[in-house]
């Protein structure tokens, strides 16, 4: 047998590792800033660019796609070469992958604070960046599949299957969810509307959790945990079974994000059923990881790398137990729109993704620098800071969730709401938000300790950019009669990729196709619901751009305590012209779906200028720039044209009158404000925003009259 000599590419891994740490620290710092603003809105420094609504998506994107994304690439590029006994398929592709991804992150760092956002959660980036993401992701895919094809190892180890599934699914999700028609270079409208848009968004959103935050990390776990513990994974058989079950089931679970909304009941039930089943394969992965350490717990006591991994896997187990539980309707009623969800995702992000990344870095860096970890003690310090950080983060959030929910639903014996003012429920949980920020601070401090430790480690060693390796060439496989099909698949990467694609597509198709086939204009049509006027549309875009949806939902659920507080619950037919939907996922402030005509225009004006003047103690920051900046009157006709293409019934030729129409409505608002002693101009953003807010949820009120 000929032994071939080749070199592993460590350089690209090193770059990805550095990017992981740098973006991780930045992303968490932004998170800390956002957390602080929830109890001290002044922490936005009075700037529109650092206000909660705009930096929240920056934080989520930075942590998910910059921190975890780079960690995935670092881990995949490191482990795949070794598992497949070959250098990456093409060095140029590796570097396009690296620099392309960093440029995308950089563009997010610039555009999100500027208010360019599609408002789709975890997919906020605007269409040119979406296209870039798709391209770079495909580059990664080509590089990965290419590497798999030129491998020297016959069988693809289980980690590789997880990588393949992640690549395929993220590509599918990203492309479908990003369907949008551009209005101009940095503005687009989602191709889907209302209920459909919400379904597509959460089909994407949930599976971004599944195939960006879970499956790649399970792959990394299957490589780095056995390596760090120096013992094989507990059960390879279990890994096969839980792999197929996991990727097949996960894709169906999205609708559990939309329980009690105007999403059709069958879709909600489908999502719930699959979410509950999902616990089996999820725990399969957790059990497989933890049992790998069977008989090696003495090592865990001493080795900080294993400590990180054990807590990571435990956090994964907790989060995926919580997931099915949260998809039960009765539990979901408590968790949705409260901090429970925030706690849930952070157990996953801080515990599972964060800690596994740290364990991986602590293991990988000394390997590539051919040295030992500089300080075990500091790594232990990091471990405890991080663990305490997670506890200080999560526990107050659970308390906060229950407090808020209990207050929301509390009725007096007379049958009126005990806390009719939403703000009182927000103010009650402020101490919990302070503790949460403290937890975040601890966690971030731990990261800085790690940075110091890793730099010291690297300085003590010598980096091997191209690591020599040798392995026999891949033999032509001659069938020896008794061959098992899964074994055969594991040797056929393209076929394996196709199978994976089929497995994940079934769920997606089942969820999406029926809702597209339903002519929802007929099924849910409400005669009184009319398209937005041009000024309202512009106001809606300002609302989106300021990230208002990050704190305010537009979906009143059919609970007595919600209809009592806000008014008639939301109907599917009310959203048919909403590209994109804005149902929100968190209520830091009240729901706004029925806010239209509730207050005079001047109330909204004063509220945006100084929220505390209208709602004493409010944690909403002031938006003085809305009073000064003009909206884009020139751009309005294009927006109408694009909306018509998406099926919104604006009359042909309406473009000619759009600006006059908007001006007329704006002047009406200006006059009403004037009557209340407020001077403003019809071109100010605030006027458009007021137009939109006053329209919200009023269409069916007209019908009632």
């Amino acid at each position: 047998m000929e032994i071939e000599k080749f070199h592993y590419d460590n350089k690209v891994v090193k770059y990805f590792a550095i990017a992981t740490v740098v973006w991780g620290a930045i992303g968490m710092l932004v998170g800390l800033l956002a957390a602080t603003q929830l109890f001290a809105p002044e922490a936005n420094l009075g700037s529109e660019y650092t206000t909660f609504g705009r930096i929240r998506p920056l934080h989520t994107n930075a942590v998910i796609f910059a921190f975890v994304g780079n960690a995935i690439f670092a881990g995949v590029y490191y482990s795949m070469q070794r598992l497949l006994k070959t250098r990456m398929f093409n060095d140029a592709l590796s570097w396009i992958n690296f620099w392309g991804w960093q440029l995308i992150i950089l563009s997010a760092v610039i555009t999100l604070p500027m208010g360019f956002t599609s408002s789709k959660e975890y997919a906020e980036l605007e269409w040119p960046i979406d296209i870039a993401i798709a391209l770079i992701w495909v580059v990664f895919g080509i590089n990965m599949i290419g590497t798999i094809i030129k491998r020297r190892e016959k069988h693809m180890y289980v980690a590789i299957w997880f990588y393949i599934a992640s690549f395929v699914t993220v590509a599918v999700l990203h492309i479908v969810n990003s369907f949008a028609l551009p209005v101009n270079f940095m503005k687009s409208y989602s191709a889907f509307a209302g209920v459909q848009d919400a379904l597509v968004q959460w089909w994407y959103g949930h599976n971004a959790v599944a195939f960006f935050l879970t499956t790649p990390y399970l792959g990394l776990m299957y490589y780095f945990l056995p390596k760090a513990a120096n013992r094989p994974i507990y059960s390879y058989k279990l890994s096969i079974v839980h792999f197929w079950a996991l990727i097949f089931l996960y894709i169906w679970a999205g609708p559990h994000h939309l329980l009690y909304t105007s999403l059709p009941e069958w879709a909600q039930a489908l999502g719930t059923a699959f979410s509950i089943m999902l616990i089996a394969p999820s725990w399969g992965g957790m059990v497989n990881g933890l049992l790998t350490l069977r008989g090696a717990w003495d090592k865990v006591k001493e080795d900080p790398i294993l400590k990180f991994m054990v807590v990571a896997i435990t956090a994964y187990g907790m989060a995926v137990f919580e997931g099915p539980m949260l998809s039960l309707k009765s539990v979901n009623a408590i968790a949705h729109y409260t901090d429970w969800i925030v706690a849930h995702v952070h157990i996953g992000a801080l515990g599972w993704n964060g800690f596994l990344t740290f364990g991986m870095l602590y293991w990988m860096i000394p390997q590539m620098w051919k040295t030992k970890l500089f300080s075990r003690k500091l790594a232990n310090t990091h471990f405890w800071l991080g663990t305490l950080g997670i506890i200080f983060y999560a526990l107050p959030m659970y308390v906060s969730a229950f407090t808020q929910w209990l207050m929301w639903k509390e009725f007096t014996p007379e049958g009126i709401l005990q806390y009719p003012n939403f703000l009182s429920t927000t103010l009650q949980i402020i101490p919990m938000h302070m503790l949460r920020a403290f937890g975040g601070l601890l966690y971030l401090l731990g990261v800085f300790v790690m940075v110091y430790n890793l730099i010291k480690t690297a300085k003590a060693g010598n980096f091997v950019a191209n690591e020599a390796a040798e392995a026999p060439a891949l033999e032509k496989v001659v069938s020896k009669g008794k061959e098992y099909w899964h074994r055969v698949w594991e040797r056929k990467p393209i076929f394996f990729t196709l199978l994976t694609t089929v497995a994940i597509l079934i769920g997606g198709i089942f969820e999406l196709i029926p809702s597209f086939m339903m002519k929802d204009n007929e099924a849910t049509k409400i005669e009184a619901v009319k398209p937005y006027t041009p000024l309202e549309l512009e106001g809606r875009d300002i609302y989106i751009s300021e990230g208002c949806v990050g704190c305010h939902s537009q979906m009143i659920r059919p609970f007595r305590y919600e209809t009592e507080r806000y008014g008639e619950y939301s109907k599917a037919g009310e959203f048919v012209y909403d590209h994109p939907f804005l149902w929100g996922s968190k209520r830091t402030g009240p729901d706004l779906h029925r806010v239209g005509e509730k207050y005079p225009d001047s109330w909204h004006f004063n509220h945006m200028y100084d929220p505390r003047s209208m709602s004493p103690g409010s944690t909403m920051p002031p938006y003085p720039w809305l009073l000064e900046q003009p909206y884009d009157l020139e751009g309005l006709p294009d927006k109408i044209t694009v909306m018509r293409k998406l099926g919104v019934p604006y009359e042909e030729g309406f473009e000619e009158e759009v600006q006059a129409n908007a001006m007329a409505q704006a002047e009406g608002i200006v006059k009403r404000l004037e009557a209340d002693g407020i001077e403003t101009v019809p071109e100010a953003k605030i006027v458009a925003l007021i137009a939109y807010l006053q329209r919200l949820g009023t269409d069916i009120k007209v019908a009632d009259k």
Binding site: E4, K227, I240, E470, A471, Y484
Partner: protein, 68 residues
């Protein structure tokens, strides 16, 4: 509502298919040797380390095999 009937039928067929495939796989011993791969992934470091130590001595061998 028709779509529901179709979905239920199709999903039962798919689920049944998966079940049959699974039972068949277990019966025909597909998962009998599911341990070697998990050991194999641990070996590569040993080879590399050995190779690193030997790298000064191995000369002919290296050039010969490079031709592949």
């Amino acid at each position: 509502m028709n779509i529901l009937v179709i979905l239920i039928i199709v999903s039962l067929i798919v689920a049944g298919g998966f079940l049959v495939a699974f039972i068949w796989a277990v019966r025909s011993g597909q998962f009998d040797d599911a341990s070697t791969p998990s050991y194999r992934m641990l070996w590569d470091d040993a080879t590399t380390k050995k190779e690193d130590k030997k790298s000064n001595q191995s000369t002919n061998h290296k050039q010969e095999s490079h031709g592949n």
